[in-house]
């Protein structure tokens, strides 16, 4: 920064100096945990798992971790947009993932795979529009709106499917797609990487991503800068819907089946990854990379707990506690930095 060198020599006392007493050690640790903690924690967790947990580093287990992480990761990467825009979350991803899966399999059987993909994407646009218009234009509470659209979506899906399980086309096209692998890496993980790269670019390097982050930082300042803010919120929900539908495709291809209950818990799983990754629920701060790290962390931790024989109940307790810890660190760090 050569501007600093060129700055006027005398008249510089107007800039605010950092608080005179400086933050305490506890405050510094807190800020560090909120800023960079996830990177270190993830690396330590993986290293420890490789070293101390039997069977963790086996090819079969790694592929399994990827498989479980991928669909939830795709959902979480999309939902990162809604969270960063300061609108909390999109609970309706549960219904959207299942809807995407059921439409892909069901319509592929009755018509063709391309038509199935188009229909599913069209439905995802409807989801994004309903959520985005209600929250962005009508300023309705996002939690309540998306809880309600989950209800509507799952209700419609149960009515359409009659609660039955759909199996993929007999020619096995969907199934064979789901089985593609690059070495030990299954196609689902590759889709996650591609979606993360595209949405990461959208969030960090485009005008749209910029205004999403700005809106999450300060809604009114962003509006007063001439940004059409309702469109920004709508865009964030549309992207979440798109990602959830892709996740539905991946999930359906992997299992070659679809049922309305297949994505139960995805709302919480995605939120866990986003929050543990360090994206702030207050909006403005966060990134797609953080969410990917959060997904890796949660997936590896869950896997390690399973391998160590810890029951499902205690897994839930562990993940729930981690989220409480992460949101508290986020809130406290915000209070300490006073911005």
């Amino acid at each position: 920064m050569n501007q600093l060198a060129e700055s006027p020599t005398v008249a510089a006392p107007t800039a605010a100096e950092p608080r005179a007493d400086g933050p305490s050690i506890a405050a510094k640790a807190l800020l560090w945990a909120a800023e960079r903690g996830i990177v270190v924690f993830t690396v330590v967790l993986i290293l420890a798992s490789v070293l101390f947990v039997d069977g963790f580093a086996s090819a079969v287990n790694v592929a399994d971790v990827f498989h479980r992480a991928a669909p939830i990761g795709i959902v979480a990467v999309g939902m990162t947009f809604v969270v960063i825009s300061g609108n909390y979350l999109d609970l309706s991803v549960v219904a959207q993932v299942a809807t995407g899966a059921v439409i892909l399999i069901g319509v592929s059987n009755s018509h063709s795979i391309p038509i199935a993909i188009l229909v599913a994407l069209a439905v995802s646009v409807v989801y994004g529009l309903v959520n985005g218009v209600a929250v962005g234009y009508f300023k309705a509470n996002a939690v309540i709106v998306t809880l309600s659209t989950t209800y509507i979506g799952l209700g419609l899906l149960r009515w359409l499917s009659g609660g039955s399980i759909f199996f993929g086309p007999r020619d096995g096209t969907i199934e064979s797609f789901g089985d593609i692998k690059l070495g030990a890496v299954p196609i689902s993980a590759i889709v996650l990487v591609v979606v993360a790269l595209v949405l990461g670019f959208l969030l960090s390097r485009t005008n749209f991503g910029f205004v999403v982050r700005a809106f999450g930082s300060n809604k009114e300042a962003t509006r007063l800068s001439g940004v059409n803010t309702p469109v920004v919120v709508l865009g964030a929900f549309l992207i979440t819907s798109f990602a959830a539908t892709i996740a539905g495709f991946v999930l359906a291809a992997y299992s070659n089946t679809a049922v309305s209950s297949m994505s139960d818990g995805y709302d919480f799983g995605a939120l866990a990854a986003i929050i543990i990754g360090g994206t702030s629920v207050f909006g403005g701060k966060g990134s797609v990379l953080r969410t990917v790290l959060g997904v890796v962390f949660v997936s590896v931790l869950t896997n390690v707990l399973v391998l160590s024989g810890v029951g499902f109940g205690w897994q839930q307790v562990a993940i729930g506690s981690l989220i409480v810890l992460a949101v508290s660190v986020d809130a406290l760090a915000r209070k300490v930095s006073k911005k």
Binding site: A214, N218, A221, G284, S337
Partner: protein, 509 residues
């Protein structure tokens, strides 16, 4: 202090003795003493920021004085609002603090619900609330939700709420701000009646005619200092205004701008909105138009309604874009047509404090510094650095969070972000409030330079020397209307204050 004993007033009830109040380094009150007697209506006057509200809040126990004591019946008052309420001090706030969803009776008794065996007794509540309304002589259905009442009726309910607590001291802060003339007359009569019953009343108002109509004594505050206390009978509105203004009337900093206004660029007709009652306004290219008036007169509401920041209920706004007249509907259309807005609350509304200076500057300029919607950090950095340089940001490190900078530097960033759009019109609401002297001068220089380059400038300022210094013409707003217009050579602190406070005066036209 005057010791003249008028026949109707009794002994001193409440007394503030050498009150000093500091907020951080700023001195809000500097050794102020007042004493109010039973049966007396006592006026507190002064400009915006003179310390009236701070003093009132100290009397009501909301704020603790840094030095000095409040005495009630000669005994020191300690223990905050609770102790003040117990001592019989009731405060009627300027901002209405009623709960709209609750009924009239519930609002009047809020915080002091009469109970029977732990449960609220509705019958008792109705009885007490009814008695309070009767005492102030206002007839309203006790079961009506407050949300259905007019703003002026709500003001009377606020007073009933204070009266229901059987106070010995009643403090009112600008109670007539929202009232019509007839309602004002009624309120003034009511206060006189309450005073005759032995109540001590502290009356804060900018409206000198009201003070001369009902008050016995008046204290003038200026910049937190006690300037004078006089019997109303011994003073005149002119004398009071001079004492309120006080400063040596030379604010000419040697910068008399050669103003050369062009055609009208921004034009507003018949603007109505909450607190704005039909205002016409024109701003010409290269002209600085000032909006003067008291806090709460409706100036911010006017510009926000004009630009579409807040919805307006009536009126039309147009802006001339390359010779074409364009309507300003929504705020986004205002920005698209080249109107820039620097809001009053810069930390809340002007900047995203957790984002860098560079990001904040880029926000309204994102289209011009991106290619096909893709941002370029290098280009954004260069763009922001140039503008930060133009406004004199110090230190000029655009990568730092804007929240790390001082108020003056933050305001420079808000201005910088608009400069990139080369605005046709810039509207600034209190551009230098809370800004240090050096930054203030630089912001003034920027505003003048913008006007010199042909930008139409509209400035709201409660800082009179600043308003007089910057403006080519000043419209004074009072009660949501333009009370008068003063050209540069006829505007001084007195003429602006007189129009703002509503003292009858010859309006120049």
């Amino acid at each position: 202090m005057s010791d003249d004993q008028s026949s109707t007033v009794g002994p001193v009830v409440i007394e503030a003795d050498s009150i000093v109040k500091r907020f951080g380094g700023a001195v809000a009150l500097d050794g102020v003493s007042v004493s109010v007697r039973a049966g007396e209506i006592y006026a507190l006057v002064g400009e915006n920021g003179a310390g009236k509200s701070t003093l009132m809040r100290i009397l009501a126990g909301i704020l603790a004085p840094t030095e000095g004591t409040v005495l009630v019946d000669g005994r020191p008052l300690e223990g905050g609002t609770r102790a003040a309420l117990d001592a019989g001090i009731a405060l009627v706030h300027q901002e209405l603090s009623l709960v709209p969803e609750m009924t009239v009776a519930e609002n009047i008794m809020l915080g002091a619900f009469p109970t029977r065996g732990g449960a609220i007794s509705r019958k008792e509540m109705q009885r007490y609330a009814g008695a309070a309304l009767e005492e102030i002589g206002v007839a309203i259905d006790l079961d009506e939700p407050v949300s259905r009442l007019s703003v002026s009726l709500r003001q009377f309910i606020e007073i009933a709420r204070a009266v229901a607590r059987k106070p010995r001291v009643l403090i009112l802060d600008e109670p007539t701000a929202t009232l019509t003339p007839a309602e004002t007359d009624y309120l003034l009569e009511m206060l006189q009646r309450l005073a005759r019953g032995g109540l001590a009343i502290v009356y804060i108002s900018h409206r000198l005619p009201e003070i001369f109509a009902i008050c016995e004594r008046v204290t003038v505050l200026r910049d937190g200092r006690h300037i004078d206390t006089a019997d109303i009978a011994d003073t005149t509105p002119d004398v009071l205004v001079d004492k309120m203004v006080g400063r040596e009337l030379k604010q000419d900093l040697g910068v008399v701008r050669e103003s050369n206004p062009g055609d009208v660029v921004l034009s507003a007709r018949g603007i109505t909105a909450p607190k704005v009652r039909g205002i016409d306004l024109d701003v010409r290219a290269g002209e600085i138009v000032g909006l003067g008036g008291l806090v709460g007169a409706g100036r911010s509401e006017l510009v926000r309604a004009m630009l579409g920041v807040d919805p307006r209920t009536g009126g039309d706004v147009t802006v001339v874009v390359d010779g074409q007249v364009r309507r300003v509907g929504s705020y986004t259309s205002a920005v698209r047509h080249g109107i820039a807005f620097v809001p009053e609350e810069r930390r809340q509304d002007g900047l995203a404090l957790s984002m860098s200076v560079s990001d904040n500057i880029a926000l309204p300029n994102r289209r011009s510094i991106s290619r096909a919607g893709v941002t370029s950090p290098a280009r954004q950095q260069a763009f922001a650095s140039t503008l930060a340089d133009t406004v004199g940001l110090r230190p000029p490190n655009v990568k730092r969070d804007s929240g790390d900078y001082s108020g003056g530097n933050q305001q420079k960033v808000v201005i910088a972000k608009w400069l990139g759009l080369r605005p046709r019109v810039i509207v600034l609401d209190e551009p230098t409030r809370g800004v240090d002297v050096g930054a203030k001068a630089e912001i003034h220089r920027l505003v003048r330079e913008l006007a010199d380059e042909g930008t139409a400038v509209l400035v709201i300022s409660s800082d009179l020397p600043e308003l007089l210094d910057l403006s080519d013409v000043i419209h004074v707003v009072r009660d949501g209307q333009i009370a008068g217009t003063l050209a540069r050579d006829e505007a001084d602190e007195r003429s602006v204050m007189s129009l703002a406070a509503g003292e009858s005066m010859v309006t120049s036209s």
